[in-house]
């Protein structure tokens, strides 16, 4: 086994275990901490795949900003919404959910193993390929070029989305 295979399997097991932690911990703070761990492991996956800018953004925005917001709300509501969940009104819900989850992951894995493989014609080549731009100009330069040459309009629409989200949060958070 090469080093990249060993690191892949370690990361795969670690991210799966911490993702299981998100859904089984009783206390919401523990779930949030487990989610932060999962996001950090996914950032390491991105580093392994060569997407360095995305990995840094994942740590700064997701594990930093978004999860801090989560933890603030969790601690704000924690006194009332404690870990003593009342008994389930639908007792068979857990079993059905686990069975459906196994079916979903089984079907996805089956399709991934038996489906058509990507042919090499789909790959970018020559001066357009990501590895060429990264090697000649650098990682963040490649990201910026791709963003502002092909995705300028979605990028601008993103700012509209953020304005709408800010206004929505202000309206909902106002005391009536």
């Amino acid at each position: 086994m090469t080093a990249i295979q060993i690191s892949f399997f370690v990361l795969a097991v670690a991210s799966t275990v911490s993702a299981i932690g998100v859904i089984i911990f009783r206390n919401a703070v523990h779930s949030a901490l487990s989610l932060i761990l999962t996001l950090l492991f996914l950032a390491l996956f991105y580093l392994q795949l060569g997407a360095m800018f995305i990995a840094i953004v994942q740590i700064l925005i997701y594990a930093g900003a978004i999860m801090v917001l989560f933890l603030f709300v969790v601690t704000m509501l924690a006194s009332e919404a404690s870990d003593n969940e009342p008994p389930d009104r639908i007792p068979w819900q857990r079993g059905i959910a686990a069975a459906l989850g196994f079916i979903l992951v089984g079907a996805l894995s089956y399709l991934l193993f038996t489906g058509q493989t990507l042919d090499n014609g789909a790959k970018a080549s020559g001066a357009n390929s990501l590895s060429h731009v990264v090697s000649t100009q650098g990682n963040i330069e490649a990201f910026g070029q791709a963003l502002f040459h092909g995705f300028t309009f979605p990028f601008e629409v993103t700012s509209l989305l953020i304005i709408v989200a800010i206004l929505g949060a202000m309206v909902l958070g106002r005391r009536t």
């Binding site: 925005i61 919404a81 390929s129 989305l161």
Partner: protein, 99 residues
């Protein structure tokens, strides 16, 4: 590593998110499970971007990240305002649309 290895990890994390949404009744943990699903999709986008040698997958991750941030902000604001009016955030108790 082959592409399908990354996609299977992505499928496992996505399924864990789905199970979390189905099983848990604390809306905050349901939100965290939605984040898990978004991140699983991000992993497959980055894997495809790396294997197709094209930067387009990373653009999609960037947009998904923004959408996730906006969704979390509005969703948590809704949960806080529900908590203010009802003093209780169990999703099984939220079965009326009237205020």
């Amino acid at each position: 590593m082959p592409l399908s290895a990354y996609l299977i990890v992505s499928a496992i994390i996505f399924t864990l998110g789905v199970i979390g949404v189905l099983v848990r009744r604390n809306p905050l943990i349901i939100f965290m499970s939605i984040e898990l699903m978004l991140n699983a999709v991000n992993l497959s986008f980055v894997a495809f971007s790396s294997f197709l040698d094209s930067a387009d997958g990373q653009m999609f991750v960037f947009i998904v990240l923004t959408v996730a941030a906006a969704e979390v902000v509005v969703g948590l604001a809704i949960i806080v305002s529900i908590f203010r009016t009802r003093r209780n955030i169990d999703v099984d108790d939220m079965n009326i649309l009237r205020g």
